[in-house]
């Protein structure tokens, strides 16, 4: 892994250790720029504030080899988005931001030698913005559905509002994607 990513990860791990983050849940899911299948840990930083570290596997596509993606994200579950259905099923919404890194030779974090300084921004790291819903199915198991907009997509939307707004679903499917998965809570 490249030095910038190591620095970012180190900083976030230090922050999480500094605030005595506790691993609260383990997640398994598919989609949303994190892999055909991905898993990760959900650490509670402060009340309602989570840090997630995830690793995902992307299957071989036509013309593209399989590869691994790493992602780190921050998630905020505000109380205002929590609803108890029949006092039994907790449905809660959340928002977040994250970074995903793809371990592929062709992509880069540090500019390869052939380019002049500052010629391109890194191609191996992308940011994303998350909106999601968790539904408590059982005492320790939750189902989640997320929409994630890619950084370049959000940037594109803001610069080309008329173009995207007039598309199907106001263009949100053109700039992002969905994922579903399960969360297993082992600290109640």
């Amino acid at each position: 892994m490249h030095s910038i990513l190591i620095r970012v990860l180190s900083l976030l791990i230090l922050v999480s250790l500094g605030v005595k983050a506790k691993i609260e849940r383990i997640k398994v899911g598919t989609g949303s720029y994190r892999g055909d299948i991905y898993t990760g840990v959900d650490m509670l930083l402060f009340k309602k504030h989570h840090l997630l570290l995830q690793i995902g596997y992307v299957l071989k596509d036509r013309g593209l080899n399989d590869f691994v993606q790493y992602s780190i994200s921050y998630q905020f579950n505000p109380e205002i988005l929590e609803v108890d259905v029949l006092k039994k099923y907790r449905v809660s919404g959340y928002v977040g931001v994250g970074l995903v890194y793809a371990d592929i030779d062709k992509l880069f974090v540090e500019l390869p030698n052939q380019y002049p300084d500052g010629y391109y921004i890194p191609t191996a790291i992308r940011g994303y913005f998350t909106v999601g819903v968790e539904i408590q199915l059982q005492h320790k198991i939750e189902l989640y559905v997320e929409y994630n907009a890619l950084d370049i997509g959000v940037d594109g939307y803001l610069r080309n509002r008329e173009l995207f707004f007039n598309q199907e679903f106001f263009g949100i499917t053109d700039i992002g994607t969905f994922c579903v998965g399960l969360l297993w809570r082992f600290r109640v």
Binding site: Y33, V58, R62, G63, L64, I121, G156, T173, D174, T177
Partner: protein, 292 residues
Amino acid sequence: MEIQSLKVEANIIKTIFSALLLLLLSGCDFSPTPWNLDTTECSGIYTADNIKKLEKLNNLESLDSYSIGLTADSQRYPERLRDALKELKSDQKVKFIVILGDLTELGLSMEFNWICKIIKEIDKPIFTVIGNHDGLSFGKQLWSKIFGLYDYSFNFQDSKFIFYNDNKYEFQGLKLPDIDFIERESTIKDNENREHTIAFSHILPWSQKENSDEVLKFNDFLFQQNIIYNLHGHTHKEDIEVVESEIYRLYHIVVANSESDRYGKVTVFRGRDSLKVEFCQTGKSCRTVLNE
């Protein structure tokens, strides 16, 4: 009372699962990675198909003059590209349009799909040359899948149009531009009636060549192939560079980027050596910058 409550709960669970199932089946994208080769929106814009479309037009009528629409470097501003293409679409003199590279910022499939949607709205043949930004990430594979070849050519109204890839940083290991290809395509065949040979590439010859001798040699080569007019993007600023030597005069015409709402037009007159070049701004009139 308890049975009724259980029924309600079961209904809620059913509703939640139905909603999720609907979401899964509704065609919502569950893309596992931003670095994919998904080109869902890009069918039907293959270069070879556009060449066939233009051939039909070529066989249909002989024109005294016609124009070529030019845009470049839409990158983060596909909306501006759409606006320029709409204006070029409504101009009856414009017979085909060339996008001079950098259709995307990072060569991601998401960006290509945005552009494909826009191109598909235009019923005129649209041709492209690959830009340096388009070659990033998996842009090269996506490009081949969407448009086909990087280097190609066609004839239209007794002129030859040559499109070539000159992004040498992004195509390490290849000797670009492919001189052999340009030489082969620009050579006039027996019984061919040729008025002009016009070339299109993303980058001006000297933008990536530190060695001025190399630039000089390349311009000499272009002249030897009788390629007097060369069209480019890349620098984001409209410009006409005139290369003069004792024996020749070449033109490198640069079209500004879409962000600045600029586009261009080249008009070819049958039986006349020179071309007319106009630089335009969407919503405003065009100004003639070359008409010798």
